[in-house]
């Protein structure tokens, strides 16, 4: 894994998200209430809404534009909607966040 250091866990609020700018566009990095982290392309599969601005609950985020719910681990839209926001590998080590900007994949 291509490990790029992007910051510390505490830089992201619980149930929140922050953006990482990359040459392929914005990647949203999420932190759940249980301190798990996930990364998704910051574009909703519906109409491109900025997922990083959504409400994070459980392992999901609700898009701020039309309330599609996206599964953070897979990037897949939760039924009845369908579609996929590409996901990236991200991990925490000693409170430090590492992202692999090349790991983009669609799991839906």
């Amino acid at each position: 894994m291509n490990r790029t250091r992007i910051g510390k866990l505490e830089d992201i609020p619980r149930q929140g998200s922050r953006i990482v700018n990359t040459e392929h566009g914005e990647i949203a990095v999420f932190r759940t209430v249980g301190d798990q982290v996930f990364a998704l392309n910051n574009r909703c599969p519906h109409k491109g809404g900025p997922l990083a601005q959504g409400i994070v609950h459980g392992q999901r985020v609700t898009c701020p534009l039309h309330s599609w719910v996206i599964d953070l681990a897979s990037g897949a839209a939760v039924a009845p909607d369908s579609g996929c926001a590409h996901r990236y590998d991200v991990l925490v080590e000693d409170g430090v966040l590492f992202l692999d900007p090349e790991s983009r994949e669609c799991k839906a």
Partner: protein, 814 residues
């Protein structure tokens, strides 16, 4: 020791006499030994309803007001079929035709009146009847054979009801009347003409401007001859040419009488032990022939009999409705204009509607309505209150619904009437009394409402209105409809339980709520979290710390996200009033940030569009520097207070709508509400600030401020309901704050005021905001308290660095 009771004797077992007893029993149930004498053999019945009995729409049983049992239960000695023939004022006794003697300490004369039998030849022939009692009705029914001919002499209210009844029994009916049109005492020529036409369509024949010369027949009536010589055939003649107070008995006892038994404002005759009420009475030169005034008299008489000695009878103004099913007619006051009066006319031949209002000195003097009488009680109310109608003049004819323009038709029209509006004219019951009885006593049927309030219990013309009130009040009573839907899949709890549960169980944070109420998910979802955040914020002002993670993006970053992911920035412009200096600073800031679109919003502010998220705090810093605060254009919170220039500039302005709007905005800004909340203040009823489609609207008038609630623009426009009128700016502020607080505590999250009011019903709002001064003051105090903690400008805080992570990227990688 047994206290000897006072002896009260009542002469006349009719409507006024027995109503007095009912009132008396309410006040002091066992002060009196009561004895009642009635010439009629029946117990007390509702004389008004004889017409429906005649027409076959009702049975006599349905008209009985107090049956035999009632007299027994109240220990009243009742002598029916006994006529009192003598009053001995020295011995204080009365005596009947068959020799019963009863002593009295107080005497009440309620002998009513008799039909006037015209002094023409043949008046005593069999087949010539008056129209006064159930006995008369029975005789008419015995004579009524289909195809036979009946002639009714007198085209007044009673005559027409009799004619209609006989016609419904299959008789061939003619009405003979002295004037050019029927009911000339209640209707003008046009209204009378319309009525005549309608009755002719039902088969009645009219002989107008005719005088009866003689009733013909030998042994029984066979016909009628007019003064002009023409003769018509008749098998039955009903005399309905007016009534005459029945004063013979009183007169023979030396009690001062003129046309009627003369009484003072306390309903006492010249003999202070003797009271009198009803149609036999003459008060301040006036006699009455309708029940409403008699019932007022009954109240006063009872009050004095019970020795409260507080009330005075000061005369009544009366309104009339004709009880002919299918014909709507209403009349009140002086409807023949004299020089200097204004006349407002509406005639809609196609709908068969005619209305005439007579104004004098900007006050309603009289009203005649035909075909559409819904607004009758409203006009009548304004007539009696002497309301200045100059401001609503243009719309007056179209009725109250039109003024309030609630757009819900006649039924909702009833609901927009003020609580003081009289619904049941006979019993003087106003709307508020009915609504309160329905709510407090949990009434569900018309009969229950009748029993508890007496509304619609007499002539029945107001039955439609009472039913509409019942339907609206019950329909709007949210406790009656327990439709509880869980907030979302995370919980079984519904919105309506949330605020209360949070307060009662002292739950202070979202995790606490979720744990205590056994949420099914760890941290809820985008539906329940913002709701809980709101409820907690409303429940614990100053204590609960807003959870930005449970806010939708706009409220989290204090700007409106646009479709391209940029944001809009809309600073607050108090009451829509700005200055060159303010405009200059906005212009400079917009230029500096190369704002792509500057737009004047619908809420009288300036919107800057296309701002990137990173730029927000910088722009806010500059705006804050220039003296602006957030306009909360993104929040479920107070948005704008729209105003017009009002009395400061506008030639129509009645009050300083601009200044008041600014005060209102300064009080309310920053408050969080279940959904967005908009206010407007218009300087006069022309309503340039569109106050009647706002959540809270103020329309200034000369005499104060009209408050309107529950309107909105948007997808489904809803016009406000009229709440009440207040006199001062201070009251506007108090009512506004109290209303917002009630909304905050009571509405479901994401309910705007309109659906909330439709659910709980306007009466509910009125009870809390208008009727209950103490409750209102408490709501207002809670609102102000909560405002202490919510008027920190969120832009200033963020310009100073709060929540910086919201506005910057975590990292940028190549």
């Amino acid at each position: 020791m047994t206290k000897t009771k006072m002896r009260l004797v009542v002469i006349g077992n009719g409507m006024a006499g027995i109503r007095t007893i009912e009132e008396l029993l309410k006040m002091s149930a066992d002060e009196f030994d009561i004895t009642v004498f009635g010439a009629e053999p029946q117990p007390n019945y509702n004389r008004i309803l004889l017409s429906p009995v005649l027409s076959g729409e009702m049975k006599f049983q349905d008209t009985v007001l107090n049956d035999w049992r009632w007299y027994e239960e109240n220990h009243i000695t009742l002598h029916t079929g006994k006529t009192v023939t003598k009053i001995d004022r020295v011995r204080c006794t009365v005596e009947t035709d068959d020799g019963i003697v009863a002593p009295y300490d107080r005497l009440l004369i309620a002998t009513g009146s008799n039909p006037i039998m015209l002094p023409v030849p043949g008046i005593n022939l069999p087949g010539v009847l008056g129209y006064r009692s159930i006995a008369d009705v029975e005789k008419m029914l015995a004579a009524a054979r289909p195809g036979k001919r009946a002639v009714v002499i007198g085209g007044g209210l009673l005559g027409l009801e009799a004619a209609n009844g006989l016609s419904l029994r299959g008789m061939d009916v003619s009405v003979v009347h002295l004037c050019e049109w029927p009911m000339e005492r209640q209707l003008d020529k046009v209204g009378g003409g319309l009525l005549k036409e309608a009755l002719e369509k039902r088969g009645l024949k009219f002989y107008l401007s005719r005088q009866t010369d003689a009733i013909l027949g030998e042994g029984a009536v066979t016909g009628l001859r007019f003064k002009d010589g023409e003769e018509i055939v008749a098998d039955l003649v009903v005399m309905s040419a007016g009534i005459r107070p029945n004063i013979a008995l009183a007169k023979s006892a030396g009690i001062h009488c003129e046309r009627g038994i003369v009484v003072s404002d306390t309903m006492q005759t010249y003999d202070p032990k003797i009271y009198s009420v009803g149609e036999c009475v003459q008060h301040r030169g006036q006699t009455y022939g309708l029940v409403a005034p008699l019932f007022e008299q009954a109240k006063v008489a009872a009050n004095h009999l019970a020795r409260y000695g507080r009330m005075r009878y000061e005369g009544s103004s009366v309104s009339t409705k004709l009880k002919v099913t299918g014909i709507d007619l209403f009349s009140a006051g002086d409807f023949n204009p004299v020089a200097g009066d204004d006349e407002l006319l509406l005639q809609d031949a196609a709908r068969g509607v005619y209305k005439k209002l007579v104004l004098r000195d900007n006050k309603l003097r009289g009203a005649v309505m035909y075909g559409d009488t819904v607004d009758g009680p409203w006009y009548f109310q304004m007539m009696r209150d002497g309301t200045d109608v100059s401001e609503m003049r243009e719309h007056l004819l179209f009725g109250q619904t039109h003024l309030g323009d609630s757009g819900h038709g006649a039924k909702a029209g009833v609901m927009s009437m003020p609580d003081t509006a009289e619904i049941c004219g006979c019993n003087g019951v106003c709307k508020g009394t009915i609504v309160n009885a329905i709510i407090d006593k949990k009434l569900f049927t018309l009969d229950e409402v009748r029993a508890h309030t007496k509304a619609s219990a007499s002539c029945g013309s107001c039955t439609g209105l009472v039913e509409a009130i019942l339907a609206n009040t019950l329909g709007g009573d949210y406790s009656a409809k327990p439709s509880k839907k869980p907030i979302c899949g995370c919980t079984e709890y519904a919105h309506q339980d949330m605020y209360k549960t949070i307060r009662e169980r002292s739950l202070k944070t979202i995790p606490e709520v979720m744990q205590a109420l056994e949420w099914k998910t760890t941290d809820g979802c985008h539906v329940c979290r913002p709701a809980l955040n709101y409820y907690l914020l409303a429940a614990w002002p100053g204590e609960y710390v807003d959870d930005s993670r449970s806010r939708f993006i706009n409220e989290r970053v204090h700007a409106n996200i646009q479709k391209d992911g940029t944001y809009s920035v809309i600073p607050r412009i108090w009451g829509g009033v700005t200055s060159p200096a303010e405009l200059r600073s906005i212009a400079e800031i917009a230029e500096r940030h190369q704002v792509p679109t500057v737009h004047i919003t619908g809420g009288q502010r300036i919107g800057l569009y296309g701002i990137t998220k990173e730029n927000l705090p910088k722009m806010w810093a500059e705006l804050v520097e220039a003296g602006f605060v957030s306009g909360h254009a993104y929040g479920k919170s107070l948005r704008t207070v729209k105003t017009c220039v009002g009395s400061e500039w506008c030639r129509f302005g009645t009050q300083d709508s601009t200044g008041l709007g600014i005060k209102v905005e300064q009080m309310t800004w920053g408050s969080w509400t279940p959904h967005k909340f908009k206010i407007a203040v218009s300087g006069c009823p022309r309503n340039c600030a569109e106050a009647t489609i706002k959540d809270f609207g103020v329309v200034c008038v000369d005499s104060g401020y009209e408050l309107h609630v529950g309107g909105n623009g948007g997808v489904k426009v809803r016009v406000t309901d009229f709440l009440c009128k207040v006199a001062s700016e201070a009251e506007v502020l108090e009512y506004c704050g109290a209303f917002m607080q009630l909304y905050r505590e009571d509405a479901h999250y994401l309910d705007r005021t309109a659906p909330w009011i439709e659910r709980v019903g306007l009466p509910y709002i009125k009870r809390h905001i208008v009727d209950d001064a103490e409750g209102r003051a408490e709501l207002y105090a809670r609102f102000l308290k909560s405002q202490q903690y919510s008027q920190d400008d969120p832009w200033r805080e963020r310009a100073q660095g709060k929540d910086a992570h919201e506005y910057t990227a975590l990292a940028t990688i190549a």
